[in-house]
Subunit: 552 residues, 2 copies
């Protein structure tokens, strides 16, 4: 603290926002108009003047803005972000440090005090617009900005409760007492569908949480991880009643997707996925009914395992559609995923199978072209490298029909699970989730039973067709859609993706999503898509070992 | 997301850290040596090469580095930070955007993937060193950097548990049903000494937490706030067993002080103070035995009220020294503080007094000169402005002797409170806290009783001397000391401050710390110091109203 900044002077605390900022320190000759532009920007923020804010940034494809959500490149991306955010922070500049580069370029680093408490820091590179005309007529604009806001206590988009730790794992080693527990040092984000002793289950719906009583014991899947030495970091968000694959909770917001700034997280295991991708937990404990683990894994570049239906005890898990509900995990690396699975799956139930792959080209038809191309490239490359034999082609048949049967039985069971609560709490759910439950309410027990019988036939037919082999397909039909996607766009992506993911759902089969594919975005950056391996029932650990050979 | 960045190219994922970075986008002609300097910096980070990291920044008093902890100005401040932090993050650059200003200046914005998950963004202004010599011999250095790391799930320096909310407050309005609850919309950071139902009390000591059982009901002081409609945001950190005024917990770290980046938080109500200053809660619920609310309020520019001894029921509060322990609150504004106090203090116990002030110049002798000067200035200004009559001078007598009596009885009682646990858990406390308890263990019941009797005499003598008037003094002897202060420096500040704060402790009197004083730092920036008003017992609300007249 022995620094001695010359010419330091604090802006008067009583100064109006964006009015006559006095620089705290200046290096170089302060160019005309710079501070006026700086002040005008702060005024535009205070007034939530979207047009002025947009105009303050250079209108180029290379202009940049970064914050805790990541880096946005290009004026369109920044404007879209601002539109989503709504009004900006109410803040007052308390320090302003100017580093003049030349008469037309300066770096301004400012410290602000937020009206809601805490301090922020903003670094801006300002440039005078080039071109003809007198200097005075050339406005100052921001070429690049990095914004540090005072962080919240808890990111409510990701978490409902967090602790240091929330629940400590077992510190007892293995039977010999020599090795530490298998999951020692790991931290778990528990999807808010599992019982955590002392906490109520919220299921992503605040009104449900308010009426729920604290659980008296941990869910079986939670206890497995604690017994293996993992700490619970916290209870993480889910789509409402887990009935979505988007991750857009209407009460808590959409968790960030650090792999694709400005894109949705995927769900319904949305909070655990974001927590793991952000490095805030090392294991996400979630569920997968129709894709709720594989989709966020795919969108965020994570490893994910949906286990064989019934392989992990669902005691203490709030059901959505019990005929399809499975337990699983998300991690950043396959080794951690394997240890979580080993700690949770009874070894006696596990089977081993031959490692030959099949693909169904027809499955890929609703998939986005860039995903199809990347999937083909990955398969070709693995074949050419001798990592596997070229997959045989199979014809799974009418997947649209399969999905329809799945959709009907899922909706019927979902209404059995949650219809009572929903009926007595109108207006508490997002429109898309509510409409799916409403569909469930229309399904007669007879229609559900018919779907159940037909699905049984389909399952046996597919099992016979796959014959113990591993089905390779993309985990999702596209990379993560942008946050600004319209409901129609999200719905189209949803349908195409569920056409892929429902296969494992119908089979009750294990499925691994491996972060192997990478597709280009319009921005020139790229985004992850998962490679999905669907194996025979009971081959969870075998499938993980097979998927691990895809890790690079 | 319709931006179209030209020339975008991702750095190969398998690239070694800091090796041959390929820019994702470039504007202008890439100057010689820039990317090599950028890579060398990343290598120095990976190797934790402190000398190389220090050399990468310009060696000036105006060089800057900002992160979530705030802005540091000057090479010394940045180097001190790096020394405190220890080894930096393990990260891999995944995008690198270069904006060339001229042949000797460029902005580099990079995105990195942390080995521990999540992504970070770094904005750096690089400049070639000026001066004679060939261009090649002039190294590139960083003039300014802003670093965004992927945030943790929970800031363990501030919080132990956080929720959205952790416990919801009452939604019932007042008796008429027309007004919302008085603390509706407020969020509380509860010091980890108060019972929160379902959670164990940790008292800032992880080993104590591990052995504690969850509380079955809320502490009375917690319940008061919930009944008035405030939500509990979480359980916040405290110095170990609350036996310190520094805020430096050896297990959880030192909470940030957003008002003075690089300085300690003050304690023992350290976590609630930081939570409120950061805007992560609006009310900090804490305790004050010898200054544990007033000191963090002073260091962080907050409003704080230590209540009359016994005025708020201490049921459910872990005791430190019951003869002195009081309950109180920290807030960013006096109105919120008043509402918290009103919700918690039985109105029948409150008294009103005449509003005349006294000062004791002798009290100010151990105070830092800049605090003494600023205190004098504030008193003069308020007098000159007619906001009060000039305070009468009083002579409180030998405050060092008063503090010694206080210190003895406090240590004796602290050992009664926690000695059993400490004896059976050796080595769990920080040396300074442990030494205070060790002192407590040496005090005989007879010596303690003598101190108690002498303190009773002193209390009556002081009450008679003050005669219902309000004592004005600084809340602390200095601004917040830097994190790098030596134990001897911290101890000197502690002794000087406790000489001020123990007066209210001995009196069992209410004391308000108002964020009114501002003292200059060597860096040219400034730091807050509280103005303290000590009033007669039972005059808590009156004192708050009086203090509010100092708010600007």
């Amino acid at each position: 603290m022995a620094d001695a900044t010359p010419a330091a002077r604090l802006v008067p605390e009583e100064g109006r926002v964006g009015s006559g900022t006095v620089p705290t320190t200046v290096e170089g000759d302060l160019p005309d108009g710079l501070l006026e532009a700086f002040d005008a920007y702060e005024r535009a923020l205070a007034a939530d003047d979207q047009a002025a804010l947009a105009a303050a940034f250079e209108s180029t494809a290379t202009v940049m803005r970064a914050d805790a959500g990541g880096l946005l490149v290009g004026h369109d991306a920044i404007t879209a972000f601002r539109g989503r955010r709504g009004s900006g922070p109410v803040r007052r500049v308390v320090e302003c440090h100017v580093r003049v580069v030349d008469a037309d370029t300066a770096l301004v680093v400012s410290v602000n005090a937020a009206a809601s408490g805490g301090r922020g820091v903003v670094t801006q590179l300002w440039r005078r617009e080039s071109g003809a005309g007198s200097r005075g007529a050339r406005p100052w604009r921001i070429a690049s900005a990095q914004v540090q806001a005072s962080p919240p206590a808890i990111d409510r988009r990701v978490w409902r409760v967090v602790g240091e730790p929330l629940v400590p794992g077992s510190r007892a080693g293995d039977a010999t007492g020599t090795a530490p527990p298998a999951l020692s040092g790991e931290t778990v984000a528990v999807k808010d569908l599992f019982a955590v002793a002392g906490h109520a289950i919220g299921a992503g719906v605040p009104a449900r949480l308010a009426g729920a009583t604290p659980e008296s014991r941990h869910a079986a899947a939670v206890q497995h991880l604690l017994d293996a030495g993992a700490d619970l970091r916290g209870i993480a968000q889910t789509d409402e009643f887990a009935y979505s694959i988007a991750g857009r909770n209407s009460a808590y917001g959409t968790p960030p997707n650090p792999a694709v700034p400005g894109a949705i997280s995927g769900g319904s295991t949305s909070g655990p996925a974001a927590a793991v991708a952000l490095g805030q937990a090392s294991i996400g404990l979630g569920t997968d009914t129709g894709g709720s683990l594989r989709v966020p894994a795919s969108y965020q570049g994570l490893w994910g395992l949906r286990t064989t239906h019934g392989a992990v005890d669902r005691a203490g898990l709030l059901p959505l559609a019990p005929s399809f509900d499975t337990v699983g995990w998300l991690t950043r690396d396959v080794d951690t995923l394997r240890r979580a699975a080993e700690a949770s799956l009874p070894p006696a139930d596990q089977v081993s199978v031959e490692s030959s792959y099949v693909v169904d080209p027809a499955l890929l038809s609703p998939v986005m072209p860039e995903v199809r191309a990347e999937f083909g490239r990955a398969v070709d490359e693995a074949t050419a490298a001798g990592r596997m034999r070229r997959p045989e082609q199979v014809v799974l048949g009418d997947v649209a029909q399969l999905f329809e049967l799945f959709r009907v039985l899922q909706a019927f069971e979902a209404w059995q699970s949650d219809g009572g609560w929903i009926t007595s709490h109108p207006g508490e759910l997002a429109p898309d989730v509510a409409s799916r439950f409403a569909f469930g309410a229309t399904i007669s027990p007879r229609r559900a039973e018919e779907a159940r019988v037909a699905l049984g036939h389909e399952r046996r037919r597919l099992e016979s067709l796959l014959d113990g082999r591993v089905l390779l397909l993309p985990s999702a039909s596209s990379a993560a859609p942008p946050l600004g996607a319209t409901p129609a766009e999200v719905d189209a992506v949803r349908s195409a993706t569920l056409g892929l993911t429902c296969v494992a759902g119908v089979l009750g089969a294990p499925a691994v999503s491996a972060p192997v594919l990478e597709v280009p975005l319009a921005s020139g950056r790229s985004a992850p898509v998962g490679l999905c391996l669907v194996g025979p029932r009971g081959a969870d650990l075998f499938l993980l070992d097979l998927a691990a050979t895809w890790a690079t």
